[in-house]
Symmetry: C4
Subunit: 373 residues, 4 copies
């Protein structure tokens, strides 16, 4: 790991984004039909290695059900509009109609409404009743307050998601969440993150998490690089966390923690690069928000967009491009990597001669910075 | 070959595109008139080291004949409109008139028509009757189905062209094409590709191919980097394959396999850089699609643009710029590298003091990334 | 310190700008409320590590008072409109109304007016009377002429600011300012700069300065790279000067000279990166000129913009974005790093697990060039 | 000199453009008034280290005289309109009025007119009669045909200028120009180029040239990178040729050959970087074509723009910005490096503590690629 001298008093590693790298073909090819993209975490099997991001513009109870039926793992945001409002439909329509100058401040108002435990229970029940794997997400700040409601409502997978989640949170005000004890005592597998470095991820793995989300505001809707100066280029972050997975497997005598890329994958090419860098699965936001069924109605935003004191994300207009099925499974009607995401993944694996995701993590890549023209 | 650490779990080489490099003058100069750009493959001699790409927007039987008379090697796409329709002219007109929103889906329909063996024979006969070297291209998927028709119709050179063609294709469904046996048994020299790495190309050379196409969707009309995350920066790819040619020549006791750059050469500067990196000849698509005689009528597209499940190319509007002769041989009327391609090649060779293509492969280059303003 | 060979006759170091780097999270997190951003220089304590730049578009006596009350250190330009004109308000209004074609030449005329010592005294008295720490800035060229007026008027901190200020100025025409003797004899702590390299800063530290300004025309309003070919990428400059601070502390037996980043910090992310590279505090121009209270009325310019012979800065229109309080302390109403600068700084520190500025100077950074899209 | 592996079969050096580097201040500063930018070549002294490029848009006999009086060295193109037409004024007006689509082809026609020896004599006489140092330029192709006319007309300096001029031109058709013998026999000092590498320049120095032009179509009006794939990034080229100057001085026992940067210096910052890399003087085209007196009337073009077979330059519209005096000596009225070029050079030298051009060639530079926003 070579470090660069930024100046006499500071050194830093060179880190790479998806745009900096590309997959390269090898000497073998394969039929796309013979490629498997199946993924299993804990006892749960999925036809697609895709998790629907817990964001109001991406996942409603209805889209969660539709997405689960297509083979993915949907995660509902349990701090979003669906647990704050009995009927969020008018608010989603209002957000889609806001002008750019008032979007941030109006969203701050809308999201100031309280979270209602009974709505958490109701929304999760709706998904469970449809026969879909049930997963809900809380931020680390709210986990202590609401986790019991969530578990009582019945979830298969529990997601703790923030821009950065560490195994060691320092707080003088209240008893902070002790992730290790929490996960140990919980009877449900936990996916936790974001983490963006080898060390941070290794510590999260040691808490007993089933999966680690890799990323830090890398997505289309975030502005954390402008506002916080923080940025975790995804190719490097995934490759670092994949190394932590390998080392933790040694250290733990064989426990395999899933590496889930989270952010910056708006097009199929980026999903493919995420796996090539070591991801087991991908959590998609913007890519799914483009579905006609998506609750965002052509808009996409994350929880950072309506932070009360320090908004650091935008409401992004991406339009509604096609059905969720077209976006995931095709057939593609445009050639820009926004439809038939899974078909593209399979073809990339076939073209480079690989037959399953775990193998494809070893595909050759080159560093070749991309100039979008 | 130094590798870069992308993250702890992944390494990759730095790869270079044409835009990353430039040719530099040396201490000697020469008269452009005394430079030879002649090229010979197998028994066939060409005044120009230029192959017309087997694409419907570039090569019709008529343009193939015109292009052959100017000194190049035309290749007809035997899976294009000319072998699917008795009279493709109305369809070419329709494609040129399509709006951008419907172009992909309408082309998917048009290309859903079956390939007709009798049209393969008829088109190749038309070219042969004009006294031009006859070459036709099939994809590896269709080669087994149609190769006998092609050979019976009489071709001088047989081209097998896909985005990636490997010497070792794995398929559980049918007997895959065994390239080595196929080429060995065929009585016609074969040009095959794309290949984008040393190893892939070396294996193709060992099949007995007369030439290897270097590239992977590098052209103006491809979006494989966005859709598949796959990219083979051309300068590095050609230099790698040129090294495979040298090593294969050693290993085979002197068999010289031609390295043919295929993709990303829309302007004369890029053709020149391709040779500078080691190419013996170039296969041109977009650059020739700008001819007034080109069947694309100012538009350009590749087979990827109308893939039924996963389109990964666009129909690009480049306009009709001048006659095929002006584009190849000048005189130039614009100064942007789109006309008098051969004049530019000769001048670049003269300015750097070289007298033939084989020598010019040794010209000095620098790495100096280009910021298009 | 590796040097790059530019050509056989010239070598140079690679230098990095804020855009080239990013802060990365570590394995620990912290509550933003428990982070301290307090700063102390000499006997003066400030709640915020922010100095208001001595520029007419940023600091009037009134905004200096308001800025001081919010916790920052305001510095008044003693060679600006406020010491040249009894009432600069009409001129500020005129500058804001100038068309782009005449802005430079009209500003050259306006700033040709003489500096009036009695106005220096009056402006500083106005700030002192408000109970705010009093600081005024002179250029090195004018320091000898006006310093006594400034000291007699009573200042707490004396700022000598130019694009480049060296400890060793060579002049054959007059006795040049001997910084070392001047600072030694003055009874007021001095902040001096810009300096942009280890050596230049070390020499300034040896003059006895309390703080060194790091930068050279890096700001939004400067065009020194175009006009002078001179550029000091800020990340490298700060890291170099921070190393000089450390070495000077050794050499001087413990004297701590403050490193103050000056330029190129228009957004909170850049302020955060400045501290991450080693800055103790930041001097802000453009970021504060966006306040509704700012005298520039939505415009921003520096002294370079009206140089009589060689203007090398522009009058930049940034608009009036919100109150000074919103810009510094929030709540943010936009998500682009221009409001709640201090909230962003605190959050970045908390997210990476640090509790004070001095610690945060050790945060991990990566090199990851940023392509603004 | 580290080489980069582009691919297994090709290596190349990294080369740097002006945009890739920046001058950095040192620990010393100086008064701009005490800086000297005087330059002397052979017996000729100039107040400014600036040569007016032999281009029709830059130098007419009248502007040559005006430019010489301001202290520079004007060079008249002896193959331009002034030696082809008795009165080129109507043609210059016509070129300025041409639409972009017809500019190249109409200029090809205009420049098809023959060169008239009697006009060569008359134009040079006009300059001589004004008491200005007389210099005229021929291309290497025309030097044998016209040199005697030039010498008989009386020139102080003889310039041989092409995109690439080598000491060893290979031609089978006619006796090529033997530069070494030609320069030896000529009684006038010769400036010759472009050369863009150490070796090429060293060979030119050995011909006895007084100065070497460094460059290859680097200017605003050239498109050689697009058309020929050839590019000589200026910072590296100058630094290489400066090293050749040093080594040739050793080898020759002390003969100093002037290094003259030619191309890519449209703004003062680039002139400054050229000297910082080792140039003794600069040859300016576009920068001077912006003068109201310039014959191009706001347009600029080089001989490449009207090449009969292979135009590889554009007619660029830069507008008329100010008088020649304002452009060279100021006062500046804009802040973008296009006016007061010499004032900027002096200030850059003063700010970094240098007092003459030869010293300033040693100024520290950094590599810090510039993203024009």
């Amino acid at each position: 790991m070579t470090e660069i001298e930024i100046g006499r008093g500071k050194r830093g590693r060179r880190a790479y984004s998806f745009d900096d790298i590309a997959v390269v073909p090898s000497r073998r090819t394969r039929d796309p039909e013979e490629v498997s993209v199946a993924w299993q975490i804990d006892a749960y099997h999925f036809d697609l290695p895709v998790i629907g991001a817990p964001m109001d513009s991406v996942m409603s109870p209805e889209t969660a059900i539709a997405f689960g039926r297509l083979g993915g793992l949907p995660v509902l945001d349990l701090e979003g509009l669906w647990t704050r409002y009995e009927d969020p439909a008018p608010l989603l329509a209002e957000i889609a109609a806001l002008g750019p100058e008032s979007a941030t401040s109006r969203m701050q108002e809308i999201y100031a409404e309280e979270i209602k435990p009974e709505l958490i229970s109701a929304r999760l029940k709706q998904i469970r009743d449809a026969g879909i794997t049930v997963a809900g997400a809380l931020s680390p700040q709210r986990t202590q307050e609401h986790w019991k409601t969530v578990v009582d409502a019945g979830v298969d997978l529990f997601v703790i998601r923030g821009t950065t989640v560490s195994a060691e949170h320092v707080s003088g005000r209240a008893e902070p969440l002790n992730l290790k004890r929490f996960i140990y005592e919980l009877d449900v597998p936990v996916i936790v993150g974001g983490a963006a470095s080898y060390t941070a991820a290794l510590h999260l793995m040691r808490t007993g998490a089933a999966g680690v989300l890799v990323g830090f505001g890398g997505g289309a809707a975030h502005t954390t690089r402008l506002t916080l100066g923080i940025h975790a280029p995804m190719a490097s972050a995934i490759a670092d966390v994949a190394a932590a997975r390998r080392d933790y497997m040694d250290e733990s005598g064989g426990r395999y923690v899933h590496v889930i890329a989270d952010g910056g994958m708006g097009r199929s090419g980026e999903i493919i690069k995420a796996v090539a860098c070591g991801a087991d699965a991908v959590m998609l936001g913007a890519a799914l928000a483009r579905a006609t069924e998506a609750p965002g109605r052509g808009y996409h935003w994350g929880p950072e967009a309506h932070h009360q004191q320090l908004p650091r994300g935008e409401r992004v207009a991406d339009g509604a491009l096609g059905s969720l099925e077209e976006i995931l499974l095709g057939p593609g009607r445009v050639a820009d990597g926004t439809t038939n995401l899974i078909g593209a993944l399979k073809r990339a694996m076939a073209t480079t001669g690989y037959s399953d995701l775990k193998e494809f993590q070893r595909v050759e890549v080159v560093v070749a910075p991309y100039q979008r023209s």
